[in-house]
Amino acid sequence: MRTVRFLLDKEFRQIFRNKTLLIIILMVPVVQLTILPLAANYEVKNIHLTVVNHDNSHYAQRLITKITASGYFQLTTLERSFEEAFESIESDRSDLVLEIPRHFERNLVRENHQKLFVAVNAINGVKAGLGAAYLNAIVRDYNQEIRHSWFQTTGFSQPPAIDVIPSNWYNPNMRYQLFMVPGILAILVTMVGGYLTALNIVKEKETGTIEQINVTPIRKHHFILGKLIPFWILGLVTFTMGLLVGWLVYGVMPVGSIVLLYLFAAVYLLPVLGLGLLISTYTDTQQQAMFVSFFFVMIFILMSGLFTSIESMPGWAQIISRLNPVTYFIDVMRMVVLKGSGLRDILPHIGAVVLFGIFFNIWAIINYKKTS
């Protein structure tokens, strides 16, 4: 164990002496965590709407006013024909086109039903889906309104109405940042732990100092401990700073236990560091380690449920995301920070992460040979 102390002493001296590295490790997560959640926003507003209005009636005007008053849509243009409107979609000036047919009001009153035409730029499914959904909701609302006044004036009784009453728990203001900050923090901690471990060990391979180590009687697992511990600590430092930023900048106060968060983060770093270690055993140059780490981190980020939902993925993709440690960290972060989940709730997550930790680290230890 004494050798581990010497190793740690050396590692920390090297880390603290490397000013650029320190700046990157400390500043980059802070800056990114401060700025990125502002960008990560699925809130739908400012959908660019083009209206082609063939009917100058009162109903048509009221509908358009209602749509623009909703705040979701921004009326960019009023075109005279559908072809012109289509051009605006092609050039990305608008996302949605609403066409109100000729004699809309007259036909609606006379024949009791009319159709509006909507064309949506569906390349980005979110905008398209939500845009169409909101438009539908507004039209429905508007429909209720004119029907209601019709009932008032004619005196017929209204059909039964089921009133859907939504209530939003844990985030009543629907703040996106509360959702994103824990998730992005999880990614940043993963990067710090994983990248640094992999790059550091491979650097020793490149400079040849690892050979010098291998010739000494140092035990394999002491060496590995000496490498993992510093980056484990750095990972937790990043985590701490992230929590502070989340609190100071976004007002994110964990509802659940902070101790629990730290406990999980501490355990979570094990598979992350183990993977970094594993990568370093398979690569010979820092450049290779960089590309391999990049590959994994990309998959980790995009398959973690951070930006797109996991349940919507095909079966095989869901398996990948279940094998992704980051998925669990993001889950736990959201659960504990926003909902106040407790130890028992996240036990399965801890279990999964521990399993990954054992798997990666054992594989890496077996792979690391002092004698080739």
Partner: protein, 249 residues
């Protein structure tokens, strides 16, 4: 005389390429044993097997009485190593490097501190002790690297091309350091492709194409090959060589 290195038809193959082909030799305690040969002849590969960095494909070898297949960790406790690249941590100071490697070899506390101090003094590096290794001249790096390799008083020290890139004066000073250690009973195993350094060795072997083509003391070999210098000895051997080049007279 105690035999500290013993090999019997030691071989290393990479696929169908045989880098080291059934070499057999002994090294006795207190000797300076030179392992000569051209670049690519197999010297470094052979050395790596002896110090436990590489597993032999076949043959036997024992270092300080320990088997290279099964007892590599015990071997490592008894040897020191200086690699071609000097393998010091460029971003640590002179003193930090000494203390680190000393600690790894089990030295500690006051003993380590004292040893480190005396080492720094001996090398004349007092004024440089707090300087980062990357900023000291090559010659000093070389001496430091050697000293770190023998800090823990190993039985044998393995030096891989230790004098590459330094001027002749520094080379001489370096060999003085080596002599000083052998006087204290240390065995030195050194690979080099400088033929004049061959004259500094008690005994040496010359590797050509993975095989040992000559083995003995310099006077002995000069007589055997009817040559006036080690240079000539080598030329006679290298004429038929298939691998390598770059021998320096």
């Amino acid at each position: 005389m105690e035999v500290v290195i013993q090999t019997d038809r030691l071989t290393k193959r990479f696929g169908d390429f045989t880098a080291v082909d059934e070499i057999s030799f002994d090294v006795r305690r207190g000797e300076i044993f030179g392992f000569l040969g051209a670049n690519g002849a197999g010297k470094t590969t052979a050395m790596r097997m002896l110090i436990g960095l590489s597993k032999p494909s076949s043959g036997k070898a024992a270092i300080a009485g320990f088997d290279v297949y099964r007892e590599t960790e015990k071997i490592k406790k008894n040897i020191g190593y200086m690699s071609q690249k000097f393998s010091l941590y460029e971003d640590l100071t002179v003193m930090e490097n000494i203390r680190f490697f000393g600690g790894i070899y089990g030295l500690s506390g006051k003993f380590l501190r004292d040893k480190s101090e005396s080492l720094v003094e001996k090398l004349g590096l007092q004024s440089e002790r707090k300087k980062l290794v990357r900023s000291i001249p090559l010659g000093w790096k070389q001496k430091l690297s050697f000293s770190v390799a023998v800090l823990h008083n190993p039985k044998i020290v393995f030096l891989d091309e230790p004098t590459g890139g330094v001027d002749p004066v520094t080379r001489r000073q370096f060999w003085d350091l080596i002599y000083a250690e052998t006087l204290r009973g240390m065995t030195v195993f050194v690979t080099t492709h400088y033929m004049d350094e061959a004259e500094y060795c008690n005994r040496l072997s010359i590797m050509v194409d993975g095989k040992i083509k000559a083995l003995g003391s310099p006077p002995h070999l000069r007589k055997e090959f009817a040559a006036a210098s080690m240079n000539e000895v080598f030329f006679k051997l290298a004429r038929d060589a298939e691998r390598g080049g770059g021998l320096k007279p």
